[in-house]
């Protein structure tokens, strides 16, 4: 009994030490966001002498933080909703049609998951900049709908793959019964099939949120106007400008992480479950 008690104590201590190590960079970031330049110069690890929020106020202004966060929210939410709607619909149609063409389409979606973004980014920008109608100000470059369109394109492979695996295990009987009762395919899908896909929809949503919210590369290529910058973009420009002022830079980073922490606190259970389901597939 005594030996067992000892072993579990060691594990707990190990657990806390690793947790402390994991959180250490966050600690450094938070404490230094309050310190004066003089204090950072002599003491980066200690607690700040006073809780001076002035760097946060400056950072919010310089980063146009509120604008950036609403841009990020807009792009992420709309992209996720459309990815979920489009890929759940196509997966269901593909699984239920079981034709050779459907299989071919499915495999194309899956195989292209191997293609790294870097292999398509240059021609993609060239191709998309050709989709322009000057008369009505339509352009895929430097607009949110252009960016969202591309997110749907890049997000659909994994999402269709996940939905496909799940739908295969959903029995047909309910759908058939509804068909006999006179529902058309759209009604069957939205009233019966889609609600039953909830667990995998949560996974698809979470994986895409993590990716799109944090993505830097695609928006850096598509968006040009400063007013459209998402959080990673505004962080990048802000950090480039203020690396010498570490306190200000750290305050900016804390701001960008706050939304992630809030999201995490509310949906931690789903996130870990979703990532598990997504990874194991």
């Amino acid at each position: 009994m005594k030996a067992k008690f000892k072993a579990s104590t060691i594990l707990i201590i190990l657990g806390f030490m690793t947790a402390a190590l994991t959180l250490f960079p966050m600690y450094i970031m938070v404490v230094n966001s309050f310190k004066s330049r003089a204090q950072i110069f002599t003491d980066t690890i200690g607690l700040p002498k006073s809780l001076d929020f002035s760097f946060y106020i400056t950072a919010i202004e310089k980063m146009k933080f509120l604008k950036a966060i609403s841009n990020s929210l807009f792009v992420t939410i709309i992209s996720i909703v459309l990815i979920i709607v489009f890929s759940s619909m196509s997966s269901w149609a593909i699984v239920r049609s079981s034709s050779k063409l459907a299989d071919f389409i499915l495999y194309t979606f899956i195989v292209t998951m191997l293609v790294p973004f870097q292999s398509v980014m240059i021609p993609l920008m060239q191709y998309m900049s050709g989709w322009e109608i000057k008369a009505i100000n339509f352009s895929m470059i430097d607009t949110f709908y252009g960016l969202i369109f591309m997110y749907i394109g890049f997000g659909s492979s994994l999402s269709i793959f996940l939905y496909h695996g799940f739908i295969k295990s959903v029995p047909r009987s309910l759908e058939e019964a509804a068909m006999i009762d006179g529902c058309n395919k759209f009604q069957v899908f939205w009233r019966i099939v889609f609600p039953s896909l909830k667990p995998i929809t949560v996974t698809v949503a979470i994986l895409n949120v993590i990716w799109i919210w944090n993505d830097y590369l695609l928006p850096s290529l598509v968006l040009r106007s400063p007013g459209l910058r998402t959080i990673p973009l505004s962080t990048f420009y802000f950090f480039g400008e203020f690396t010498i002022q570490w306190n200000l830079a750290m305050a900016g980073l804390v701001l960008t992480i706050i939304p992630i922490i809030i999201f995490y606190l509310f949906s931690q259970k789903y996130i870990i479950k979703g990532v598990m389901a997504g990874a194991v597939k």
Binding site: L23, I28, T44, M89, S119, L217, W246, L253
Partner: protein, 292 residues
Amino acid sequence: MNKKQKGKITTALFVIPSLFIFINVVIIPFVMGIVYSFTNWDGFAFKGSKFVGFKNYAAAFGDQKFIDAFKLTTQYTLVMIILVNIVGLSLALLVTSKIKNKNFFRGVYFLPNLIGGLILGFIWKFIFTKFFEQFGVITHTEKIFFNWLDEPTAAFWALVIVGVWQMAGYVMVIYIASIESISEEVMEAASIDGANSWTKFKRITLPLIAPAFTISLFVTLSNSFKQYDTNLSLTNGGPFGSTELVTMNIFSTAFSYNKYAQAQAKSIIFFLVIMIITVIQIYITKKREVDM
């Protein structure tokens, strides 16, 4: 219109939105990219570009910086595969053992994974430069703690540390799922037969989590090979271009040197390498799983 045709049309309506966007965002640019890589395209209008055969590929292989970047990326990926999986598996074993606060620990260890590579790189930049320098002076360990981003080897390891810190939590989650699916009964039976913890780990846990191992290897490999964000924010290829990974090399070839066709050829080579490694890896690990 008969019923069958109607059914086909609705099926098409269900698939068309995704398929249309996907073809335009991924397939067409991918095919264009392959074509462009054989021409002297200058990044502007494609009209007027000439077919130049394998010239861009020859130029890519002749570019010492690209070769160096490839070597460095391979090293980085190998180190990452080993470290991320060791740390990830250890964390998973820790949080699936009989300790209190399991969920708290899981939550904390996974957290870095939610923060984007770009922001992580910036946080660690402060640590490797300011904090390390100061810590070295205060504790008289300047040999270990100095500005890591100023020295090529140390900067490489800085990239590795940030990468492990970010990815270990993700891999941990994969291992947790696998470990938790091992039945309690098997473990108890082994205990009754007198197996100690190490024997149980070696003889039961390890073989049974082989599928998770495949997935984790694959995830670490492809993520490390494609690493860009952390590279950009932490070292930006420095000092003196010594930590430039492949993706950054492709990026700068295109957007800094305006050699678009050559960058495209590099990116096709990059794609082929990823594809070959992935296929080999899936083949080997699947085979091993069956053998066990």
